[in-house]
Symmetry: C2
Subunit: 212 residues, 2 copies
């Protein structure tokens, strides 16, 4: 039962153990071959251009260059690239950002192999693959209020612990304007104060913890 053809897969994750696991899982499919690996977004872009894989398995949270940026760059060079995000997190903002950056599927890292290979096969057939739990997050996002770009920018400074005055100075607007935005942010996130806003924003993937 020689397969009609083999499919090249690129594996991108900064954790060696995860790459080993994917290599092992994919090796059980006779028509899959792991054509290459990358440990960060920059390596991923280079590897994709070199290998032109049929599917790319991509983590989001990586050093040097994150998955989102890598997805954008890869699809600039190869608009037909099929990218499957494999993430630990399920914040609605992460999911939405990945899909709108051009990912065709999104699965969670605690998925077992009977979730991973079907997802890859779906992408090979040009289909999208969004599990129910992931789709649920997206639906919840649509129901709730969505932060504007400016509001996200303010939340980014908020997690640094900046006061309203400082945030205003950074963005070149008055403190009053910041407070006005902050009021909308608190309402949209349905929280009582800025501290809770930080935890909710982190949980939903709207912002991430600064590296240092």
């Amino acid at each position: 039962m020689k397969p009609s053809r083999t499919y090249k897969i690129l594996v991108v994750d900064d954790h060696f153990v995860v790459r080993a696991g994917l290599r092992d899982i994919l090796s059980h499919e006779p028509d899959f071959i792991v054509a290459g690996e990358a440990a960060n977004g920059r390596e991923a872009v280079a590897a994709h251009a070199r290998l032109l894989p049929d599917v790319t398995l991509m983590d989001l949270r990586m050093p040097v260059c994150g998955g989102l940026e890598a997805i954008r760059l890869i699809r600039e060079n190869s608009p037909a690239a099929r990218i499957l995000v494999l993430s630990s997190y399920e914040g609605d903002e992460d999911i939405h950002a990945a899909l709108s950056a051009g990912a065709m599927g999104y699965i969670l890292k605690h998925s077992s192999d009977d979730q991973i290979t079907p997802a890859i096969r779906a992408l090979l057939q040009g289909k999208r693959w969004i599990p129910l739990e992931v789709a649920g997050q997206l639906a919840a996002r649509e129901r709730g209020e969505i932060l504007s770009e400016r509001e996200r920018e303010i939340v980014r400074l908020l997690v640094l612990g900046d006061a309203n005055k400082q945030i205003g100075d950074t963005l070149g607007i008055t403190e009053l304007t910041v407070k006005s935005h902050m009021k909308n942010i608190l309402a949209k996130l349905k929280v009582r104060d800025r501290t809770e806003a930080v935890t909710v924003a982190l949980r939903r993937g709207i912002v991430h913890l600064p590296d240092e």
Copy 2:
């Protein structure tokens, strides 16, 4: 070259892909055998009691029952148990808590196989295994100020977005006392306000994001 004896290893991680990776990595060592797997702390305690492995590879962040609690329970039943923590995070508090709970080693998930098997072999010989980067975090912790139990309790409520008054009600103390603690917390964490305190506490592993 038949090995003199084989060593039983228990793998504990909630991510299927990680378990697969470890299974694959360990299978390359002829004297290692993955005797069992567990996807959370409760399963880990049961599996350890049943299998009595020579070494347990344990993730920290897991649902149902976290790794820390699992380490404590396992070492209550088997004080000689050798547990190697395999974590993605490197917050000094996580590291310190795991080691004082009884773990004998601590490695990071982006470690390659040439870091993982030596760590396991070290534990098999009754030695500890703390990589430089991990030891550095611990050293930094010792240099800095360490939060008291009461202060950690307050930080836990802080990340929920509770106001000082609420925190006081929860702990049965006055708001004034909470503010006094908060003052010390801000000083110890070297931050300006409670918002920054949340991000620093999360980054250092002093507290974790609430599940919901």
